[in-house]
Subunit: 304 residues, 2 copies
């Protein structure tokens, strides 16, 4: 089988490098960062940290070079989904395309340009250390399921999940992948922007009683929006928050959105709290706190 990872940053690289180690999988990596592409083609794609790996995908910044693929795995930042899938869609004319991105709305964007879409959520995380080299910070599971309006066939979803699992990225193929996705979105939307606005690390956001109260109120709004859609969360997002606040996990960790704010980069707020607000509006669920947080982070972006 042939897989193309679209957006080969930290998370994309975890999939590309591990899958490329399998004999029966041919991996392409599409990314606009030329030095990274050149390093991958020259030296391979190296992972270090939580596990070591060296894979040799074929990398390119030119979508015209991509051959027809059985699967796409989109891993760009959420604000780049539309441009990335529009550029690469021809390679997936007969394939299935999964997302392993943060936030809400990625499946919808992918479905505008392709026919068989896989809803996905992944928990592993890392960071790009240098071109061709990614640090693997956190291991974790991935879940794939059909994107309901334009679903990929079940056996194809199972085939991709099996390959990922065999490569070292444990992946479950499920009937309804919305539960894990909303659990992660609710967790991220409740904690990341609070860290970004207060400049506090994850642990301090969760231990300060008034901030934790705000976090839990944001979680409650997200849960209500999920429930209105008939989504059953696979676990309580509060457990993720308690877990992440532990000293040995992410107590001193600056949420990625705080890192974005400190670097004055555009954040994923539109796809986290903004997504919860949009789905809330569609289903008649008020989300005033998520809306307030969304406005504040957008305002902060505009101050740069």
């Amino acid at each position: 089988m042939r897989v193309c990872v679209v957006g080969c940053g930290a998370v994309g690289s975890l999939f590309a490098a591990t899958l490329a180690q399998l004999d029966d999988v041919e991996v392409w990596a599409y990314d606009l960062y030329r030095e990274h592409v050149d390093a991958i083609n020259r030296d391979g794609l190296r992972l270090s940290g939580a596990a070591e790996a060296l894979g040799r995908p074929t990398a390119t910044s030119d979508p015209g070079e991509l051959p027809p693929c059985d699967f796409g795995i989109v891993a760009t930042k959420a604000m780049h989904t539309s441009a990335a899938i529009e550029a690469t869609a021809a390679a997936f004319a007969n394939g299935c395309v999964a997302t392993v991105q943060n936030g809400l709305g990625n499946e919808e964007a992918i479905a505008k340009h392709t026919e068989r879409v896989i809803r996905g959520t992944t928990f592993p995380a890392g960071k790009l250390l240098e071109p061709g080299h990614v640090q693997w910070d956190v291991k974790g599971d991935t879940t794939f399921g059909p994107f309901e309006p334009k679903p990929a066939p079940r056996d194809e979803i199972a085939r991709l999940a099996e390959a990922c699992t065999r490569a070292g990225m444990p992946t479950h193929a499920v009937e309804d992948a919305r539960g894990p996705q909303w659990r992660k979105v609710i967790f991220n939307a409740a904690t990341n922007p609070v860290g970004a606005l207060t400049r506090l690390t994850h642990g301090r956001v969760c231990e300060e009683p008034e901030l934790r109260r705000l976090v839990s109120s944001l979680v409650d709004e997200g849960k209500a929006v999920a429930a209105a859609q008939g989504i059953v969360l696979d676990a309580d997002p509060e457990d993720l928050i308690d877990h992440a606040a532990k000293p040995e996990v992410a107590y001193g960790h600056k949420a990625s959105m705080l890192q974005d704010v400190e670097a004055r980069r555009q954040t994923e707020i539109d796809y986290l709290n903004g997504g919860i607000v949009r789905f809330g509006e569609e289903h008649g669920i008020p989300t005033p706190l998520n809306r307030a947080i969304w406005s504040l982070v957008k305002g902060l972006e505009q101050s740069w």
Copy 2:
């Protein structure tokens, strides 16, 4: 009559310098900033900007030096009210004490140490340029009225208001001073922290549709808390917001709380949004957005 201004920063200096120009008013200025006290005693207290004035109050950092006074005018930042009135209360054993401070709770703090309290709100603003010299940025009215649980006598309130007006600080003595106070608190609580969290100037906070929507939602909570207490606002706080957003007024102005945040100074958030939340709790009015904003700014203070 003898008046002591307690806290002789920008706003306190406006009252001290103008009142000290009157032949029939003896003015003392109590402040802990020694260089400012020394400069006032050496060269007088000078105002420039919206109007010019040079007054010669007697300044001191030693509350033991204060003679018995007919009136106090407390003008510290709200977080310093208790310490300042506790230190100076003996001077007001037979006098009346007014507040011209920001926020909610100052009258209550003053009433713990003195018997006759004047609820007050003032709109003039300025900044300390150097010891003994204050820039007068904005002219505006002051309102005095009785603090209901420990009211100053009406004729005494009228006497202080008349002196202030004659000195060039137009002041109204009213039966119920809560309307202007809550109008200003609601205005400040809805705009200042949004500027502080987003780092945007006043004009941009008010023109960005989603931020203005947040500002108006904060205003609505404040209005509901005021209404539950039977307070009739003397005008709509939204008018103040529209006014302040005008290019010629305060479009490019960084709210004082944003200045505090940039300088990493403690803000007055506990007495603005925190005050609205506390009064809301007492009267059974939910204030989730003011509570969220309060938590975020407190979190930001803790990040320093």
